[in-house]
């Protein structure tokens, strides 16, 4: 649908509560279907070494190349299989340790005040008594397709060249252009996500555009794009291991939706890589009274369990000196914005961080409630707008069904408040990338 058509529908929805209700019901049904189908068990499958073995009682006709590929593949598979550990690029930070992220943020709530942009920086609340931590579901370490793959006639010869090591028990999420669905808060009010974030997608996207090609949808992983950039997170209060920054405003591609940002940054310890918190678990509890549905904006990172419930085990995730994680969620509120654009939505969610101090520290947690005062996108902070632009960029490249009215031209506009000398070259490079991508996206 073209932009004019989308705008017409959006206008109709704003003026027609019945139509809006119908759309929300459809969206809720879609979310219900996705949840149920995601929970459907996957069938047992053969171990990799058995894949190329003919099934029982069936004679396969193998062309000669298959014989060669099969022989060489079997030889490779005969080697002891090791877990394929992806090497992730180290983030160049002045004090940072390498980031090992896994985007699995289901919920991301941002609240922008209607007043001049002032992001809410949460000071830690008083710690509660030790509680069971919840284990966030692991998400995949994933590498983008190597578009500079070594010369090889076929993928079979790549396999035969021994460049591959099969993972014995893959735990990473499925690849593919998986779009994150909206989830009903009434059904799944709580979500958990990991502190680890990958950032390899941006390089692949940049490479494609540099070569005049639209990036393949499955290589555009929005959560990774988001965490490629640095944001102006204030340091934690004295004595605290981390600080949280939350902001909420209208989503620029769907003004009737709320866009929520959660950022977490670790304090700077004495040396790079020092652990400031361990067994970190990040959780969000949505308020169904104000949140109809929510969606993690991390398309391409695979489907996440929407009920990563506590199982009493520690996550094992560590938060190291200077590390940050940034997540975005899109929320469909229970009450739509008034035509004046000023509606108080109440407390949208509570963001909770469970963790342990390094060493033998006991479990601790911090909670950050987030009210929504109905702030507009125009009133949001520069960092918020830039992050929204990055998300919009990813959704346009993926041709996401949730991109709303986003176009690359609009994405470029959204970046402008967050670009300048004080933000560094990386953001200016992103703007240049958006401009270069525009002719590639019809």
């Amino acid at each position: 649908m073209d932009e004019a058509g989308c705008a017409a529908i959006e206008a109709r929805l704003r003026d027609d509560p019945a139509a809006r209700a119908a759309v929300e019901e459809i969206r809720a049904t879609a979310a219900r279907l996705e949840a149920a189908l995601a929970a459907e068990p996957l069938p047992a499958v053969a171990a990799p070494a058995r894949v190329l073995r003919p099934s029982e009682g069936r004679l396969l006709r193998w062309p000669r190349i298959y014989y060669l590929a099969g022989t060489l593949a079997a030889a490779c598979f005969a080697v002891v299989v090791v877990v394929h550990q992806t090497r992730l690029p180290e983030r160049e930070k002045s004090v940072a340790a390498p980031v090992r992220p896994k985007i699995e943020a289901n919920v991301r709530v941002l609240e922008a005040k209607a007043a001049p942009a002032a992001r809410m920086t949460m000071a830690a609340n008083a710690p509660a008594a030790g509680e069971n931590t919840e284990r966030a579901e692991d998400s995949a370490h994933r590498n983008a397709v190597n578009q500079n793959a070594p010369e090889a006639k076929t993928m079979a010869s790549q396999l035969a060249a021994g460049s591959m090591a099969m993972a014995s028990t893959p735990k990473h999420r499925p690849m593919g252009d998986q779009t994150m669905a909206f989830v009903r808060a009434a059904d799944h009010p709580r979500a958990a996500f990991s502190i680890e974030v990958d950032t390899s997608s941006y390089a692949t996207v940049r490479e494609s555009i540099a070569h005049g090609k639209r990036p393949a949808g499955e290589t555009v992983r929005i959560g990774e794009l988001l965490n490629t950039f640095h944001y102006g997170y204030p340091p934690p209060s004295a004595g605290e291991a981390f600080a949280a920054s939350l902001e909420v405003a209208a989503a620029p591609w769907a003004p009737e939706h709320r866009l929520v940002w959660i950022g977490l940054n670790a304090r700077v310890a004495g040396e790079p890589g020092a652990t400031v918190a361990r067994d970190v678990q990040l959780q969000v509890a949505f308020n169904p009274a104000h949140v109809a549905t929510y969606r993690l904006i991390a398309d391409g990172d695979g489907r996440l369990s929407m009920n990563a419930m506590a199982d009493g085990r520690d996550s094992g995730d560590e938060f190291t000196s200077g590390e940050t994680v940034t997540v975005l969620y899109e929320i469909v509120p229970v009450r739509a914005m008034t035509p004046a654009g000023e509606a108080e939505h109440g407390q949208l969610l509570t963001f909770r961080v469970n963790y342990r101090e390094p060493g033998a520290g006991g479990p601790q947690h911090r909670e950050f409630p987030l009210p929504d005062r109905g702030g507009s996108f125009a009133a949001a902070s520069a960092d918020f707008k830039f992050a929204a632009a990055v998300a919009g960029f990813g959704m346009v490249l993926r041709d996401s069904p949730f991109k709303g009215t986003a176009t690359l031209a609009k994405v470029e506009d959204w970046t402008l408040p967050g670009v300048g000398a004080e933000f560094g070259d990386e953001r200016e490079a992103f703007v240049a990338l958006v401009r270069r991508a525009q002719p590639l996206v019809p």
Partner: protein
């Protein structure tokens, strides 16, 4: 507040491993999809095996950007071949609904307020096979209408019609089960 703005990072070349990652990630979803078409998990595993063997023979870059769609398409073709050979092939005219024998009495109103995934899956299983297929391709495997059109060789319009029909029925069925 001070935030150092580090220079842009130099990203290393992406490591190889595309094929094994694709296999590890897609083998199970493909098997599930093929098993639905064939009604037989063992044959489904064979079909998926064939698809990956075929993938290995593709020139590098030939399926770049759409490997998942390609795999689902190949699996579907292979599954339909199996069904034809075994005389189990059913074809549906575009938009035609197969009459599915009732499994029993319509689920009553004993469901809890909070739906269960199993209940929704049961409702999906009651849909005609062609609607089930597009519903699963769309909501379980995340394909777009265009991609589903290419996989199933249905027109985009018919894909939309089938999904709309299925979603409408599922909404009604689910609503009827609510107390």
């Amino acid at each position: 507040m001070s935030t150092d703005r580090p220079p842009p990072r130099d990203q290393p070349d992406e490591p190889a491993g595309f094929l094994e990652r694709t296999f590890a990630a897609q083998q199970a979803p493909l098997t599930r999809y093929a098993a639905r078409l064939l009604g037989d998990a063992d044959r489904a595993r064979d079909v998926v095996q064939d698809a990956f063997v075929k993938l290995m023979a593709q020139p590098a870059g030939a399926v770049e950007g759409h490997v998942v769609e390609w795999l689902f398409t190949v699996c579907r073709h292979r599954a339909l071949d199996v069904l034809r050979k075994e005389g189990r092939m059913k074809t549906f005219a575009e938009g035609e609904v197969e009459r599915v024998p009732a499994a029993g009495s319509r689920p009553g109103r004993e469901l809890e307020v909070a739906e269960t995934h199993a209940a929704v899956l049961r409702l999906i299983d009651r849909l005609p096979p062609n609607q089930q297929e597009v519903i699963r391709l769309k909501f379980q495997n995340g394909f777009s209408y265009k991609e589903i059109s290419r996989i199933t060789t249905l027109s985009v319009g018919n894909v939309g019609f089938l999904i709309h029909t299925a979603v409408t029925r599922l909404r009604a069925d689910f609503a009827a089960q609510q107390p």
